[in-house]
Symmetry: C2
């Protein structure tokens, strides 16, 4: 199981791309490496790299490549996210998608082609780096399919698949031959499927950079969000989840309640349920301890318990903490919680959560090889097999499926939460066998639940 | 009368601020100086300089100062526009005004304070440059008070005055002692008025950098636009107009029709009518020959005739042509006409309009010292003295006032269009005397007209 950190530059936050400093970057990455982390995730700002639809700035790509090299000098692998897009409540949308030029960024052919060109160019700029962990298409780009983002909101799930497929293909074109290894090994909508049913020996190992699609949790919890679980599970080389307990979870369970410290584990099991191929790696790419629902005094315990529960899931590629450095109070307008998510203070002092993270990273903790044998059935279809609207609300904080999963997890003999199996795939014995599922549990019929809002209310200013 | 050019960088358009090159800038400015121009107007990109509300990038300010120095080395003065904002159909709005952070940029106290801080810092960064012509608050910022810009559209005229006053004051703070001279000489809402009625000896001369508020022509032509003539005339040290005949004028009159080649002159006379102090300079800060309504074969004639008519107006500070260089066809999504507005091609060849401009600039042509003695009355108030909705529509292309003004201009003995006097100020004899108005003409009662749209339809993609 890999340990990493989402890298938030101490000086100038992500605006530092406008004044790129190799020495500032090196100081930050040296600190991150000192935690025992093995990778970072980095975030170029989309309109800075591609200010015009047909202008991809070579110097910006060089800066990204330089960061990857600096990280490598400290023994860190790097995941590069392309489309930011959205970061910590701020949107960075190119002017060619705004006002007079407002178009659906997921469906307009010119926009999709040029966005793909950017993803390809970015992947190509770092393709030869030995320490490239992977390319994510962008950070929670599915936010742009919803208000309050001013883009048109008429994207369908099918269009979302076409878009995600195009972006993953673009990233792979950029990576060239280095992308091939994983394509052959992990089936996805974007590549030739490998033999079904074969379990992958070790989720963390890999033969080339991963291409992934990162979404915020409305994909899992909000039936109205056009990008759903399939968009995470059907594209790229691993299924990505982002765990933020300000989504109602911590309000429901308390900062250190089982539902809160198991939220990352739970998302990983949800992800695994939607994967079409057993053994596809799942990546908890973002998880953090937001101060609006987790008091600073609980942050270290929250961190430790979260990671230990994550390690109880199978096929965990890794966990990537959000984030490295607190945001400077000299920068305005961040939601309060966003200032304090760092493992380090803004001036570089290690915080208690950072100490907890470092202890775990250095402990040699690994994720489980054998999956939990029990699986809870998720009703993703109606009796006639058609898709069921409401499946995602059931999974959301406060939803009946979420409650049933948590109850099972807390009563398990080994402390590990159960796997999840979709009703639509329940009859697939080969799949169940390949996933190591020997016991099927139904959500109790008398269990009720009401999903809480998952639209990140806490990140609204 | 000053001759200048709006500077559109040949390499990378305004995105070149992200990759600032002193040598590219020098090559472009040397070419502009070769036309005989005495000044340029330059356009930093707002979110590039101020990516966070409380982060004003020192290096970006240094780049702006460097451009001013390079221009000086070629004998060019420089006007620096602060809030871009809007340029050639593209909006550049900081992320702290978008999506979760959407606020009214003209009224939110935090936003106004931070915007003022930027204007002050920018003015301060160039305050000591001997060749600083002035600071404009921003390019056509009033566009943001209207759709399709996503900002809230509930700004009132009064709030617009408060905003403009705050921005002009901020620019003057940045300019420090160099701003004082003009403040003492030209009354405005933002400074102590000088003795009313005194004519200024020469509009083009100046004792310090000008502070101006630049608006697109909806301010003059669209009664629904919150920013109106008073916002241009009551703030700063000169009244700025932007003349674009794609606003319906050329459609009505033809590319070389009198209404088209007199459109710049007409706007200058409208501006003078709203000035509270006689002799306040008026600046035709943008005028160009858009190919969608002026064929390239007419561009030189359009340029020459426009400038000659402008010179027939009184108190003309100058004319600043849009623009220096064609936009590279390698950049996407510009409205077609925006690619071809340069006096030079993108690779630096002088175009016929450039030759015409250069001949005029070198000819020593001056604007009239004595104002036209005839003035046409503009009904800005109703019989009871209250403001009249419809005044601006009357002035718009196709409006009855515009038609009457043009008829008078074409029948004048000296070829100069008449002045304009507001009904609300008609009884002010001292003002009329100071303006040199000896003959009052009313719009014929039997004249009818229908205003055309002025919302820049041609710049919509």
């Amino acid at each position: 199981m890999r340990f990493g950190v989402n890298y938030t530059p101490a000086v100038g936050w992500f605006h530092s791309w406008l004044d790129f400093s190799a020495s500032d970057t090196a100081r930050d990455l040296e600190a991150i490496a000192s935690l025992g982390a093995d990778h970072v995730r980095i975030f170029p700002i989309w309109p800075v790299v591609q200010p015009n639809r047909t202008l991809i700035r070579a110097s910006a790509l060089r800066d990204v490549a330089t960061v990857v090299d600096i990280a490598g000098s400290f023994g860190l692998d790097v995941n590069v996210d392309a489309l930011q897009g959205h970061l910590s409540s701020f949107d960075f949308v190119p002017s060619w998608l705004d006002s007079w030029h407002r178009r659906n960024m997921f469906t307009d052919p010119d926009v999709v082609a040029s966005t793909a060109a950017y993803v390809e160019a970015l992947a190509g700029a770092v393709a030869d780096k030995p320490n490239l962990l992977g390319i994510s298409i962008g950070n929670e780009v599915n936010q742009f399919a919803h208000a309050p983002h001013p883009a048109p909101h008429d994207t369908t799930a099918e269009q979302g698949h076409a878009w995600a497929g195009a972006m993953v293909a673009a990233a792979r074109r950029g990576l060239g031959s280095r992308a091939v290894g994983l394509e052959a090994r992990h089936g996805s909508a974007d590549s030739v499927p490998s033999a079904a049913g074969s379990r992958r020996p070790a989720a963390g190992s890999r033969s080339g950079p991963l291409v992934t699609v990162a979404q915020y949790d409305a994909a899992w919890y909000d039936d109205a969000q056009p990008f759903g679980p399939e968009h995470a599970a059907d594209h790229g080389d691993a299924t990505v989840t982002h765990s933020w307990v300000f989504n109602g979870t911590a309000a429901l369970h308390g900062p250190l309640g089982a539902g809160s410290v198991r939220h990352g584990e739970y998302l990983l099991q949800l992800a695994a349920a939607w994967n079409r191929e057993p053994g596809r790696p799942n990546w908890l790419q973002e998880v953090g301890a937001p101060t609006n629902v987790v008091p600073p005094s609980d942050a270290a315990a929250f961190t430790e318990q979260t990671v230990r529960h994550v390690a109880g899931a199978q096929d965990v590629l890794g966990v990537t903490w959000w984030c490295s450095h607190d945001v400077s109070r000299s920068l305005a307008d961040f939601p309060e919680l966003e200032y304090d998510l760092g493992l380090f203070t803004n001036d570089g002092a290690l915080k208690p959560a950072g100490e907890a993270f470092a202890a775990l990273a250095r402990s040699g903790i690994t994720s489980a090889v054998e999956p939990p044998s029990t699986a809870l059935v998720l009703d993703d279809v109606l009796g006639d097999g058609s898709p069921r609207y409401g499946t995602r609300a059931d999974c959301a904080p406060g939803g009946r499926f979420a409650a049933a999963w948590l109850a099972l997890a807390e009563s398990s003999h080994d402390g590990r939460g159960p796997q999840v199996v979709l009703r639509s795939r329940l009859a697939d014995e080969a799949l169940r066998t390949a996933r190591g599922i020997t016991s099927i549990v139904e959500v109790p019929t008398d269990l009720d639940g009401t999903a809480l809002s998952v639209a990140h209310p806490a990140t609204m200013p």
